[in-house]
Amino acid sequence: MIIRGFAHKLGDDINTDYIISGKYKFKTLDMKELAQHIFEDIEPDFIKKIKPGDIIVAGKNFGCGSSREQAPLVIKNAGLSAVVAVSFARIFYRNAINNGLPLVECDTSGIEEGDELEINLEEGIVTDITKGFQIKINPLPPFMMKLLQDGGLVEHFKKYGGFSIE
C-alpha cells in the first residue's frame, strides 16, 4: 500500500474531541457533514486548508480521550489519507484500523507543514520527498495489518464471518 500526500502538522495529545467535537457528533451519522467540523476547536476552517489525499502528521498520543469511532471516520471523510504520529492512543488506534484508515507510528520531528510524503506500509518506510529523507516505521501487528488490508472490520467480518486471527 503506497500513500502519497502533503503533510498537515498538529501537536501532541490531539484528543478525539478535537478531531470531532461532541456538540456535532451526537446529532448525526452523516460523516460527510461531520467532516466539515474536523479539528474545529483547535484550528477553525481546517477543512478549507486540506486537499484530498493530504496526511495528518502529529506528535505523541494522537487520538486520546473518547472512544468515538466518528473520529477516524471524519478523518477519512475529510479526504485525508493517513495519520502519521509518534504514538497513538489505543482505542483510536483500533478504531482507525477497523475503518481502514492507515496509521503510521514513527518519529515525526523532521517533517514540516506542507512537506510531500510517501508512505510505503509494506516496506515500513515514510519518505519526505520535499526534504529527501526516509523514516523507518514501527510496523503494525500482523493481525491489524490483516484488518487494514481487508479494508476494516466490517469487510473482515463479511469475509470470515467473525475474527480470523490466524
Binding site: D13, N15, I91, V154
Partner: protein
C-alpha cells in the same frame, strides 16, 4: 510460573491456560455496552457486517445518557434507532432518566470480578474497581461483539500503583487520580493496565475506587483494576453479584513498572485547562474566579460524592455570581439522595438538579458555559470545547473542592469548611 498480574489472572480464567503478555487472543466477552454517542454507529455497522440477530441479547445493554432527555431532533432520531433496535433484538435498554452507563452497568450487576466487559465508551475502565477487566472499544467492535460474542485483545503489560499512607481530611480518591495524571502524564500508561495496591485501598469505599478506575483512561491505560476485599464483596452482594473467588495483587508478578504514591502529604489537586494532566496542588493555584460548578458524571456522581458536597454546602449559599449544577449518576442514586435529604439541602443552597445523565460534561446540554467563563467540575476531562464552548475554561477537582469553590466564587481549598 505461578506469579500473575490481576490482568493475567482474569484472562487465564477465560482462556483456560496461562496468557502471555502482549499475546493477541480472542475471548468470549461477559458483557458489552454502548451509549447514545456510539450505539447508533454500532447498529449501522451491525447491519453492514451482515448481522441479523444479536448472539447473546442478555449480555448487551444500550444506554441513553449523553443527551437525556434529547436536546434536539438529531439526537431524537438516533435515540429512536437505539430504542427500535433494542426492542427488536431483546437487548436491555436504559432509557432517559436511568442514569449514566458506567454507574448502571455495575449497579445492575452486569460487571463483576473476573469478568471481561467492553463498552463503546472510553470510561468503561470504571468497572476495574470491582475486579473486572473492562475497557473502552469503538462502535465497529461493539457490533462485532453483538454478532459473535467475542473480541480480540492484546494482553497488556501491567503497572503496579502502590498507594501508601493515610488519606488526609479533605483529600479524596479524585485527588489521588489527578495526582497520578500529574505524575505520569496523559500517555503514561498507554496500552498498559494499571493495578492498584497499598494500604490506602482499604480506606476507600467502592464508590471512591470507581473514581480512580474511571480515570485510568486519562493516562492512556487500557484498564485500572483493584484487588478484591471485604468492601468489594459486600458491595457486590448488595448489587446482586456473588463472589467466591479472591483476586489479590501478587508483588512477585511480572509488573513492568511500579509507581508509589504516598498520600500522607497529598493536598486537593486541580487539573487546569485544557489538559487532564495539567495538574497543580490547591496551594499553588492562586485566585481563580469561577462562574459555574458541576457535581456529577461517571467520575463523581455517586451517593458518597453528593454526601461530601452537601456536608460543605449545607446551611450555606452558592455565591451569587456562580451557578451550581448537580446531576446524579443514576436514578437509584437520585432516589437515595432524596431519601437522605441531600437533594433538598443542595437545592436550598442554590443548586440546580439536572436529570441523571452526562449532559454538561460532554457539552450536549444542561449547562454549556459562555465565552470566557471558568467552570470547576468533578468530571474527568477538561479539553477545550468539551463542555460545548471552546472559549470556556474547565478545571477538574473533587466534589469537595467544587462545593467549596461554589460558595466563595473562586477555586477554594475545601479543608476550610471541614
Amino acid at each position: 510460573m505461578s506469579h500473575k498480574t490481576l490482568t493475567e489472572k482474569i484472562f487465564e480464567a477465560h482462556l483456560g491456560r496461562e496468557p502471555k503478555i502482549k499475546e493477541v487472543v480472542v475471548v468470549d466477552v461477559d458483557f458489552a455496552m454502548g451509549q447514545d454517542g456510539t450505539s447508533p454507529l454500532a447498529i449501522q455497522k451491525f447491519y453492514e457486517m451482515g448481522g441479523k440477530k444479536v448472539l447473546n441479547p442478555e449480555k448487551i445493554a444500550l444506554v441513553i445518557d449523553h443527551g437525556a432527555p434529547s436536546p434536539n431532533e438529531g439526537f431524537s432520531n438516533l435515540h429512536k434507532l437505539m430504542r427500535d433496535f433494542a426492542y427488536e433484538q431483546g437487548v436491555k435498554l436504559f432509557d432517559i432518566g436511568s442514569g449514566i452507563c458506567h454507574q448502571l452497568i455495575p449497579e445492575y450487576g452486569f460487571a463483576g470480578p473476573y469478568d471481561i466487559v467492553v463498552g463503546a465508551d472510553s470510561h468503561t475502565c470504571t468497572y476495574g474497581a470491582i475486579g473486572a477487566f473492562s475497557t473502552g472499544i469503538g462502535s465497529s467492535e461493539l457490533a462485532a461483539v453483538m454478532i459473535s460474542g467475542k473480541l480480540w485483545f492484546k494482553i497488556p503489560a501491567s503497572i503496579r500503583v502502590i498507594l501508601s499512607g493515610k488519606l488526609p481530611t479533605g483529600v479524596y480518591s479524585k485527588d489521588i487520580v489527578l495526582y497520578l495524571a500529574r505524575l505520569i502524564g496523559a500517555d503514561g500508561a498507554t496500552y498498559k493496565a494499571l493495578e492498584f495496591d497499598g494500604e490506602v485501598i482499604e480506606q476507600l469505599s467502592v464508590d471512591a475506587r470507581f473514581t480512580i478506575s474511571n480515570m485510568a483512561v486519562e493516562v492512556g491505560a487500557k484498564a485500572g483494576i483493584f484487588p478484591l476485599d471485604e468492601k468489594t464483596k459486600i458491595w457486590l452482594k448488595e448489587h446482586g453479584r456473588e463472589c467466591n473467588k479472591d483476586l489479590t495483587i501478587d508483588p512477585l508478578a511480572n509488573y513492568e513498572s511500579t509507581i508509589e504514591i504516598d498520600v500522607n502529604k497529598l493536598e486537593p489537586q486541580i487539573a487546569l485547562p485544557h489538559r487532564v494532566d495539567n495538574v497543580v496542588g490547591i496551594s499553588e493555584i492562586g485566585d481563580i474566579p469561577i462562574q459555574q460548578g458541576f457535581i456529577g458524571t461517571c467520575t463523581n456522581g455517586r451517593i458518597e460524592d453528593l454526601e461530601i458536597a452537601v456536608r460543605i454546602l449545607e446551611g450555606k449559599e452558592v455565591h451569587p455570581r456562580v451557578r451550581l449544577i448537580v446531576g446524579c449518576a443514576s436514578k437509584n442514586i437520585y432516589l437515595e439522595a432524596m431519601k437522605r435529604g441531600i437533594i433538598e439541602k443542595l437545592v436550598n443552597a442554590g443548586a440546580t438538579i439536572i436529570p441523571p445523565g452526562c449532559g454538561p460534561c460532554v457539552g450536549t446540554h444542561a449547562g454549556i458555559p459562555s465565552d470566557g467563563e471558568n467552570v470547576i467540575s468533578t468530571a474527568n476531562r477538561n479539553f477545550k470545547g468539551r463542555m460545548g464552548n471552546n472559549k470556556a475554561f474547565i478545571y477538574l477537582a473533587s466534589p469537595a473542592t467544587v462545593a467549596a469553590s461554589c460558595i466563595t466564587g473562586k477555586i477554594t481549598d475545601p479543608r476550610r469548611y471541614l
